[in-house]
Amino acid sequence: MGGGHHHRLFRHGDTAVHRLPPQCKLVAVAAFAVVVVATPREAFWAFAVHAALLAAVAAAARVPAGFVLRRMAVEVPFVLFAVALPVIGLGERVQVLGLSLSVAGLWAAWNILAKATLGVVASILLAATTEPRMLLLGAQRLRLPSLLVQIAMFMLRYMDVILDEARRMRVARESRGFAARDLRQAPVLARSAGALFIRSYERGERVHLAMLSRGYTGEMPVIHDLRATARDWRTAAVLPAAALAAAALSWSLL
């Protein structure tokens, strides 16, 4: 058993992208997202360049398109919002396939869709090539607020434990003839959720005691040697730098 890698976002591999230290990848993705957001929406070709860059990263990391597409479902709420914009938008209108749509709304929708999609794909690639706990170690290395990193670390560790508790509570409910058919059963579920919260809270207190017992003083000890070389940083910089070049060109062409 290799054990432990059942996170649906992570995809095993041993490519240059997988091997990059997590802090380099985190910075690269954040910088890429900033550049994408800063790209003017009229520069269609620049967005094509951004997309081609991500495709190149995916190819280098051997992440198939289908893998990325399936995980893009998180974007659906944005898509729904974006689709609504041209319909409810004000101002000048155009006829598209017999529908009267707002020009400003169309631009806004395109802007949201293109930028969100690029950001989501970049994040999916990051998650596909970096184990969740390595991401957190990278965040710790980047000196992100230590409390937030620790909270995320515990979430990662205790997600399965808490889901297991929730499952046991469901089995206990159903063994006594409970079935959630409609809204009238909501109070029971709400009480279950409350009980689950209290159990998790109490577990948190016990975990804190266990940590204190082993000398915890508020900081997680850094025991991993996650040093990144100048070369790692240069490799990671390729993505945001190339995107920046395209964005800069599109600004100068405005």
Binding site: S213, R214, G215, P221
Partner: protein
């Protein structure tokens, strides 16, 4: 008999404690455990066992009385050293194993003591060897069996090279094989052990001496065999041997 020059691993004198809401849990506990001893702390639920354990490494601080670990009193300014010397193994290993992998979890304690690199790695491997689980080092804790998790929990504490190992209900939820494996490991360790339990056969199997904590005081202190053979004493403190169990004659 020549007196032992080393101070006892644990000395508790006149320890009393009331919770902030006024509930008095301990009414003057006196006990002493010599270095290398394995002692069982028996008592019914609500006797104050957990409250006493919380005092041993300074999570709760004494309302009255003192706790000394190998001669060092538990005080605010000695907490760091006390917590190195007292290894607490909690009842639910999921509370104890909070890091993403076994390696990081076992390393947590010694890393807090300032160990890094080779020395840290050596400690982690040695601790896992002592509980017979060197192969799980890179596994996440939630992929281990319950028995393995309890053993890793023991390793997380052993990695700090404690003076005394304090186990809270070590046999709870273990199947018979895991229970026996844990007993073998505990027997093989050369540290002082205080085992808090109401599993009387397990106490008899592992500890020559037992203390009975009842109503917030030590009600009995003596050889485990004698205590478990005293039906009136057990009954007076809500302790019961399991059905069909009788203390075997002679030494086991």
């Amino acid at each position: 008999m020549t007196p032992d020059p080393a101070p006892p691993s644990l000395r508790v004198s006149e320890l009393a404690y009331a919770y902030p809401d006024g509930t008095q849990a301990l009414f003057g506990v006196d006990l002493s455990i010599a270095r290398g001893e394995r002692v069982a702390l028996l008592g019914p639920n609500g006797a104050g066992k957990t409250t006493l354990v919380m005092h041993l490494n300074g999570i709760l601080t004494a309302g009255h009385g003192t706790v000394e670990v190998a001669g060092l009193p538990v005080r605010r300014d000695t907490l760091a050293e006390i917590r190195r010397r007292v290894g607490l193994v909690f009842q639910d290993p999921d509370d104890q194993l909070f890091m993403p992998t076994v390696r990081e979890d076992v390393a947590f304690g010694p890393a807090n003591l300032g160990l890094r690199g080779e020395e840290l790695d050596r400690r982690v491997r040695a601790a896992l060897d002592r509980v017979g689980l060197p192969d799980v080092i890179d596994r996440p804790p939630h992929h281990l069996s319950f028995g393995q998790r309890r053993r890793v929990a023991v390793a997380t504490v052993l990695a700090m090279e404690p003076e005394i190992l304090v186990l809270d209900e070590p046999s709870s939820n273990l199947d018979p094989a895991a229970r026996r494996e844990l007993a073998e490991i505990l027997r093989s360790l050369d540290v002082t052990v205080l085992m808090v339990t109401h599993d009387l056969p397990y106490a008899l199997e592992l500890c020559d001496r037992s203390l009975v904590l009842s109503g917030g005081v030590i009600a009995a202190d003596g050889p485990t065999r004698d205590i478990l053979s005293d039906a009136d004493l057990l009954a007076a403190h809500r302790l019961e041997l399991p059905f069909g169990f009788s203390v075997p004659a002679g030494r086991s």
